[in-house]
């Protein structure tokens, strides 16, 4: 073990001294990841801020309280932010208005959202909402009309959604929420209708208010781990890091062949140490450099690029595993090469192929078939998938990915270890 540590320490010192570690392990991946993030700038900014939706509550009833409850629940889920807008008259601004009418709620329970163009002279309480939309302080506004509760079951009423062409996403989201809310009222209308047919005494507004303010049925279920995604900056940073770590590790493993080429291997082999110690020292140095470079990239991309690598323990496990895989596969390639130059060429091809297959440059679609199978041969794939899994599910979610990488490392490393052992005892 002493010899292993001695050789590893010597190699580390050489790599730091010839600056190859800094060039390949830190500077190049950071620069490339940064360029990629610039090229993909709009997407790289990740998930946009949730839209802000205003509620103009002209009714102030138990029914409109149900609307508030719904908005609160959705806000808690991080999908929107909402706030009240004071009902007030004001000058209308160009906008489109989506009106979800409560027509016939007390009768046939039909509900047809109607898209109409403002101005709607019937409404005068949304003046402030228009002003805020024009000032881009709101993405959309929901207008609950005065007397909604009283109108339910007797006459059509209209809940309006105001938006602008610049805030289509927020507006559509608001429409969806209003649709959802009105669907609950429709259910209440069915209840009222059914009770009326059976001759019961029904206080329709009371039932509708209870329906509207009932606990929200909205349940946000966490997505499956396999569906989790990294934001683009993190994906690119991690992808570039794992791509380049194969080249970093390659330098260390190829050091075995460099020693042969430069003649120093003869002196190492003449020394009173086991041949495996030579291989072990080289691999240990490679792993140390690989892990160190990934840690540097982790920290640098977090601080400089805003990447979010996720659960630290899971990330550490993934880093250790993928570096071991890199050392294993590159050692296997080097063991069968005739020279350091030949090994370097083949190792580069292998590293690039595995990187592309693993989606380090761009995410590959899981289309099934041969491509999906090939993707799973790449430790890069499992690393990036593990990162995504860890982002949402922590260590436990990433463990299968870690194990997949370690299996790859064991097979490739075992092959390389055996081949190099035979090479050094020829």
């Amino acid at each position: 073990m002493r010899a292993v540590l001695l050789i590893a320490w010597k190699d580390l010192r050489q790599r730091l001294r010839d600056r190859s570690f800094f060039i390949y392990g830190v500077a190049a991946p950071l620069a490339l990841a940064y360029v990629f993030s610039l090229l993909l700038g709009p997407l790289a900014r990740g998930v946009p801020d949730p839209p802000t939706i205003g509620l103009v509550d002209g009714d102030r009833s138990a029914v409109s309280a149900g609307m508030r409850s719904l908005l609160g629940a959705v806000q808690d889920a991080g999908v929107i932010t909402w706030r009240e807008v004071e009902p007030a008259a004001g000058a209308p601004a160009p906008a489109y208005v989506s009106s979800a009418a409560t027509d016939g709620l007390a009768g046939d329970a039909r509900l047809e959202p109607v898209l109409s163009v403002y101005p709607d002279p019937a409404s005068a309480i949304e003046g402030e909402a228009y002003r805020e939309l024009a000032a881009r302080e709101l993405d959309a506004a929901i207008v609950v009309p005065v007397g909604l509760l009283e109108a339910l079951g007797r006459e059509p009423a209209t809940v309006r959604v105001l938006g602008t062409t610049n805030t289509l996403f927020g507006t559509q989201l608001a429409e969806t929420l209003v649709d959802s809310f009105l669907a609950r009222l429709r259910a209440g209308a069915w209840t009222v209708a059914a009770l009326s047919e059976r001759g019961g005494v029904v206080l329709a507004p009371l039932v509708m208010a209870q329906v509207a303010s009932a606990p929200q049925p909205l349940v946000l279920v966490d997505r499956r781990t396999s569906e989790r995604q990294l934001d683009l900056v993190t994906y690119m940073a991690a992808g570039m890091a794992v791509f380049f770590v194969f080249f970093i590790v390659q330098m260390g493993v190829a050091g075995l062949l460099d020693e042969e080429r430069d003649g120093t291997m003869a002196r190492l082999m003449a020394a009173p140490i086991g041949r495996r110690a030579i291989v072990g020292g080289k691999v240990l140095a490679s792993v140390c450099i690989g892990v160190l470079s990934l840690l540097v990239l982790w920290g640098a991309s977090t601080l400089l690029m805003g990447a979010r690598w996720g659960e630290p323990v899971a990330v550490l496990l993934l880093i250790m595993a993928v570096v071991a895989a890199a050392a294993g596969v590159l050692m296997a390639v080097a063991a069968f090469a005739r020279s350091a130059e030949a090994a370097g060429n083949v190792q580069s091809i292998v590293a690039i192929t595995l990187g592309v297959l693993g989606g380090t440059f761009f995410p590959l679609p899981e289309a099934g078939g041969a491509l999906s199978l090939l993707m799973r041969v790449s430790p890069h794939f499992w690393f990036l998938r593990g990162m995504a899994d860890a982002a949402g599910g922590g260590v436990a979610a990433a463990l299968p990915d870690v194990l997949a990488i370690l299996a790859f490392a064991a097979v490739a490393g075992g092959l390389g270890w055996a081949a190099f052992g035979r090479r050094l005892t020829r």
Partner: protein, 319 residues
Amino acid sequence: MVSANPASGALLEVKELKRSFGALQAVRGVSFAVRRGETYGLLGPNGAGKTTTISMVAGILRRDGGTVVLDGEPVTTTSVAGRRSIGLVPQDLAIYPDLNARENLTFFGRLYGLGGKDLTRRCAAVLETVGLQDRAGQLVREYSGGMKRRLNIAAGLLHEPKLLILDEPTVGVDPQSRNAILETIERLAGGGLAVLYTTHYMEEAERLCDRIGIVDDGRLVAEGTRAELVRLIGGEDDVRVSATGDLTGAAERVRSVGGVLRVDVVDEGLRLAAEGASGLLTQLVHALDAPGVNVTGIEVREPDLEAVFLGLTGKALRD
């Protein structure tokens, strides 16, 4: 093999070493021994099998057959004890250019189990031996070729081996550095270190080696001291007489001297082939001392190892 002087009481005993690379038989049953304090040379042209032989002796290369025993310890690719007593100076520069001399020596010393003050002392000692004590902190990549060669030797000496193996240590070195290296080896040998030295330079073998093994085509074709090897081929001395005047008469008188085999008249004077010419000088001078002959010089050239190699293998050493 022709052996003029079998070794006895040897530090290193090599018997019937064999190694093939595919169809090529690189070493075909080489045997020799090196005594304590002796410098033994393996002389042969490039490709003769010298490096393969010493690689097996040093435990670097697996052998197909034969044994290597150093001071009672077998030396193999897997034995550690035997290799501990060997210092190897490979033909290639087995040092790291990105480390300085002291870092190189410290690394190799630790591989041999040295440490602490002992390692510091040994580093200083070998740096002084090869004359690099003032450049110990300099990166090796900044060294001249000769300095690198000297450091290469220092690394082999660091752990005070019983046997130092040098594989063509002066290849590609300028004459001044070469001389410095040879002087270093002479000092080490004078200090009692056993040295196994391979070279294809006849002059180096003659200068350094107590005994020489002639290697050709994977075989040790002869071994012995220089004089013994010369005797093996029955070598004639080449005597050149610089003279003017009656050279034909002088040639007749010289031809009558016992031991003189041939006499030719040449432009510069006479050229003789003789056995033991150094012992005939007085008689030759008397034979040449005659009226009409003006002798300005006599030069005796004994057969060299080039001639020995040619005589034993039918090939020139640098073929």
